[in-house]
Amino acid sequence: MNPVNYLYLAALLFTIGAAGVLIRRNAIVVFMCVELMLNACNLAFVTFARMHGNLDGQIIAFFTMVVAAAEVVIGLAIILTIFRSRHSASVDDASLLKL
């Protein structure tokens, strides 16, 4: 098997995640799809690291994981705050600027 297949899988997962971000309206599910996209990128990084025979790709994937963890903490806190004030987790309902 050609290891390029891992890259195709990563592209497919990224695309599915992007579809979820565009289609879903529950903020939590949108957030999960963003996580899926980040994970797909990590898979690509790890595969590239293997292809090029050095560990730099794995380091980048590691930093992506750290940033994703921080992002999840803040994002979920924001979702909770919005839910408390608006009683809805739908991204359509957070439209304070709309008349």
Partner: protein, 261 residues
């Protein structure tokens, strides 16, 4: 080129990963989405291990499926009460257009990978020779040490930010029990304690409302949260139907007895 075993593993687990990802997007309930995503992440961890990223594979399981997804589930439990996703489109044609965009994007990505010259394949044998964790550590603490320090600052900021965002300052004193009782008397709506669930109904589960003398359910007897979720199980009609069936049966039997006479 990789071994046959890895190819088999890839083709089996890739299907699982894609199915999990699709389920994440397509499942209506957020809890099901979260569990599908957790499955996909575990499969990705196996792929990391197969690609020689031993440290990342373990971190993927511990951090992603262990911490991040459980945090997601936690928030789903907190928020999910009214978070049922409606399938109604608010913007007309949005789903179709999104599908088209995503399809085009996927084709672009795939074409890009297909046209890239990715013939080089060194493998990690040399890089992992001194151990994967040791190799990563050597890179993190020399070449990437500045990024590593920034990461620490980022994590602290995130922790403080989460605490600030979810903290609620109590601006007034909490009402005492006596004040609550007085307010209730003044309001005059429901002076005695609320009725218990299941009274005179045929079940005594908490989601079954008590029945009033005329057989209609007493909504007040069910927990407010269950009412908000619409999880009240109304058995009053069922009970009446059962009663009617019982009467019918007894009448039938009596009739038969009458015929015998």
């Amino acid at each position: 080129m990789t071994s046959t075993g890895e190819a088999v593993q890839f083709w089996v687990l890739a299907v699982v990963a894609v199915l999990g990802a699709l389920a994440t997007v397509l499942m209506r309930k957020a809890v099901h989405s979260a569990l599908s995503l957790a499955g996909t992440m575990i499969v990705l961890a196996v792929f990391y291990l197969a690609n020689g990223a031993y440290f990342l594979g373990i971190v993927q399981i511990v951090v992603y499926t262990g911490a991040v997804m459980m945090l997601f589930l936690f928030v789903v439990m907190l928020v999910g009460v009214t978070a049922a996703d409606s399938l109604k489109e608010t913007i007309r044609g949005q789903r179709l257009l999104a599908g088209l965009c995503v399809l085009g994007f996927g084709v672009l990505l795939g074409a890009g990978i297909a046209n890239a010259s990715l013939h080089r394949f060194d493998g990690l044998g040399q890089a992992n020779a001194g151990g994967n964790v040791q190799g990563l550590a050597a890179l993190i603490f020399t070449k990437y040490v500045f990024a590593f320090e920034i990461t620490g600052a980022l994590l602290i900021t995130a922790a403080v930010g989460a605490m600030v965002l979810t903290h609620r300052e109590r601006t007034e004193r909490a009402a005492t029990q006596r004040e609550l009782a007085e307010a209730r008397v003044r309001g005059g709506k429901q002076l005695p304690p609320l009725p218990a669930p299941g009274v005179y109904a045929r079940h005594n589960a908490v989601d079954v409302p008590a029945l009033l003398p005329d057989g209609t359910p007493a909504e007040l007897s069910v927990n407010q949260t269950l009412r908000a979720r619409g999880q009240v199980r109304d058995v009053s009609a069922e009970a009446l139907a059962d009663l009617a069936a019982l009467e019918q049966r007894s009448e039938d039997r009596l009739e038969r007895k009458g015929k015998k006479r």
